[in-house]
């Protein structure tokens, strides 16, 4: 059953990534088909996660690979909030290839199969892993919005004749959406990380590299919020800072998890 749900989800995400690429060349039908690919792929992945949860008698996020699969689902869920709107289709060109690649990585790591019962309690998984992953999904989306901001800002400054050919969100809208997304995500990361740290202290375990980089990530995003809300940072500077914060998210999600999940 997991196989029957995984492949449609992967193929539909892949189709969406290709569709968004086609939409860049010629806006229109390819973008609409891609958006339907995201919606249907998301439904298939939702069913896959639900099936895994039923089978394992708990949420399927106890391993690095399974948590990666959940992370993909959260990123696509967050993208779907705006992605269906025409001006935001270009965001799909950033989000969907990433979702496709991460789902493949999750598959290779065994996180999209039938899985096994986690040795963590469900409550801990929901509060720690769930909140941290939701925050990371928010940061990913904020970074995608910031990337789109930088790209669109550059176009507005270089003034190509084709600048109005594609419907795009305004710079002010992208800037404000990125800020709002981060403002929601930072409290989630704070809570999720705090729960993990409390458990660490209670059990007398040691800090690992992933925890250290997660704290650094948290600091960067707090700095982002502080500079934006108190320091008056807007636009390009803030967008570059968001990308720096996202680079740390990538390290936490992909480069260091072995040290933590082991």
């Amino acid at each position: 059953m997991a196989e029957l749900l995984f492949w449609p989800a992967l193929l539909l995400y892949g189709e969406a990534a290709v569709g968004y690429l086609g939409d860049v060349r010629r806006p229109g039908r390819a973008g609409r088909v891609a958006t339907w690919g995201v919606r249907l792929g998301w439904l298939a992945q939702t069913a896959l996660l639900a099936f895994q949860a039923t089978r394992d008698d708990g949420f399927p996020w106890g391993t690095w690979a399974s948590s990666l699969s959940l992370f993909v689902w959260l990123v696509v869920s967050a993208y779907l909030i705006w992605g269906c709107r025409r001006p935001y289709r270009l965001l799909g060109l950033v989000v969907m290839p990433l979702a496709f690649a991460l789902l493949v990585a999750a598959r290779v790591g065994g996180g999209t199969g039938n899985g096994s019962v986690s040795h963590y309690s469900n409550l801990f998984l929901v509060v720690h892993v769930g909140l941290v992953l939701a925050a990371f999904a928010g940061f990913t989306l904020a970074a995608a919005l910031s990337g789109l901001y930088i790209w669109q800002e550059r176009r507005l400054r270089t003034r190509p004749a084709t600048i109005l050919r594609r419907q795009m969100p305004a710079l002010a809208t992208l800037d404000s959406l990125a800020l709002r997304t981060v403002a929601w995500s930072v409290p989630l990361l704070t809570l999720g990380a705090a729960v993990g740290l409390v458990r660490l202290v209670v059990r007398g375990e040691r800090l690992d590299a992933l925890i250290a980089v997660t704290v650094a990530t948290w600091l960067v995003w707090c700095l982002y919020l502080g500079l934006r809300l108190l320091g008056g940072w807007t636009g390009r500077r803030a967008a570059y800072l968001a990308l720096a914060g996202f680079a740390l998210v990538v390290v936490v999600r992909l480069a260091l998890p072995a040290t933590h999940f082991a």
Partner: protein
């Protein structure tokens, strides 16, 4: 059968000198439509700066066309050679293209759809023109929803406004500083104001420099079009103002030749500078984009026109179909009455069952002939089929 007649002229056929002779305001257009509608005709008058067209639905198409030509010739005697005359499907197809903006000077311009809607509301409407205008409005709306034909700006002023929207989103409450007041800059300012922006200062050569610098730190859009021989704003002056703006973006539109705004302003963080060449290139590009989209729009209009043609042609056979069904129903009712006397009294449920079965038999028998007659009508054989059905089933013989 009632025919559709169109008589009119447009920018394709008549220069402005002729078009202005037959251009009508809303009241006059309504009055003309009402006057031509005498004798039970349906009439709509569509009059814009680019076209004046009379749509009539009448049994006597020749007379309707003659009256429409006379009415327009009475407004401008020289306009008659520039009038086009279309009927039925061709007239409907033309209206669909007009509503979709495909017959406009700038392909895909959106104003025409509202003008067609107003003409429809003010016309003397009956079932035929109501149907053709509704379907034209539907086709126009569909073209705007399913293609990008109307999304890009078609003039320098609307390009400037669209670029400002790309930076700020909604322009509601945004402020504009006008440096000089040329015709093009007035158009650009009008375009921005129509989107909710407000002009805070119109500066000229007598305006104090401090006042301009003060506004520069506060406004969102600057439009420059003075006759000054040199630069009016340099990069260092704008950089000074930017310090007070706390990162807020500033859109500067330079419509003057020679330029009023230092090109180095475009290098400053948060400044988006466009000169007349930039805007003209954008307009040229978007117009070519509109022409590409027009191909898709033409396909949508053709489908809608075909649907209307099928509906209009089916009017030929509708009376015959109605008579055939009435005749069948009459026979069914009579036979049921006979059966009731033969079978004795039926209770209510039995009566309903027999009613349902016999009605179903009649419907099934008549379904295919009905469909075939409508198909034949669309293929122009409708009258022949209708006559054949009338003859075979003896429809209308009782009345003779």
């Amino acid at each position: 059968m009632t025919r559709i007649v169109l008589v009119g002229t447009s920018h394709h056929h008549a220069p402005i000198e002729l078009r202005e002779q037959v251009a009508l305001d809303r009241d006059d257009a309504q009055a003309l439509a009402a006057r031509l509608a005498a004798g039970g005709r349906e009439t709509v008058c569509l009059s814009t700066c680019n076209r004046t067209e009379l749509y009539l639905a009448a049994d006597d198409a020749e007379q309707a066309e003659h009256d429409a030509v006379a009415a327009l010739a009475a407004l401008g005697p020289e306009v008659e050679p520039a009038l086009y005359r279309l009927q039925d499907g061709a007239a409907a197809y033309h209206l669909f293209r007009v509503a979709a903006g495909l017959d406009s000077l700038v392909p895909g311009e959106g104003e025409i759809l509202g003008q067609v809607r107003v003409a429809h509301e003010l016309g003397t409407i009956g079932p035929l023109l109501d149907r053709v205008f509704r379907q034209a409005l539907h086709a126009g709306g569909k073209v705007r929803a399913q293609t990008a034909i109307g999304q890009s700006p078609a003039s320098v002023s609307s390009a400037a406004a669209a670029l400002a929207e790309q930076v700020f989103g909604s322009l509601e409450g945004r402020s504009i500083l006008l440096l000089g007041a040329g015709k093009v800059s007035e158009q650009a300012a009008r375009n921005l104001r129509s989107r909710g922006a407000e002009i805070t200062l119109v500066a000229n050569s007598k305006t104090e420099r401090e006042r301009i610098d003060e506004e520069l730190a506060a406004v969102d859009v600057v439009i420059a079009s003075t006759n000054a021989p040199g630069l009016v704003l340099d990069a260092s002056g704008v950089a000074e103002a930017l310090r007070l703006r706390r990162g807020r973006g500033l859109v500067l539109v330079d419509l003057a030749v020679p330029r009023d705004l230092d090109p180095a302003i475009g290098e400053l963080d948060g400044c988006y500078l466009y000169d007349i060449d930039d805007l003209e290139q954008i307009v040229v590009e978007t117009l070519s984009g509109r022409r590409r989209e027009a191909e898709r729009a033409e396909a949508i209009v053709a489908v809608e026109a075909e649907k209307f043609h099928e509906w209009h042609a089916s009017l030929d056979v509708v009376p015959a179909i109605a008579s055939l069904r009435a005749r069948a129903e009459e026979i069914r009712a009579a036979e049921l009455l006979k059966a009731e006397s033969l079978l004795g009294r039926l209770d209510e449920s039995q009566r309903r069952a027999v009613e349902a079965v016999t009605a179903q038999i009649v419907n099934k028998l008549l379904h295919l002939p009905t469909v075939r007659m409508k198909q034949a009508a669309a293929a122009a054989d409708g009258v022949l089929y209708a006559e054949t059905v009338r003859h075979l089933f003896g429809l209308g013989e009782d009345e003779r």
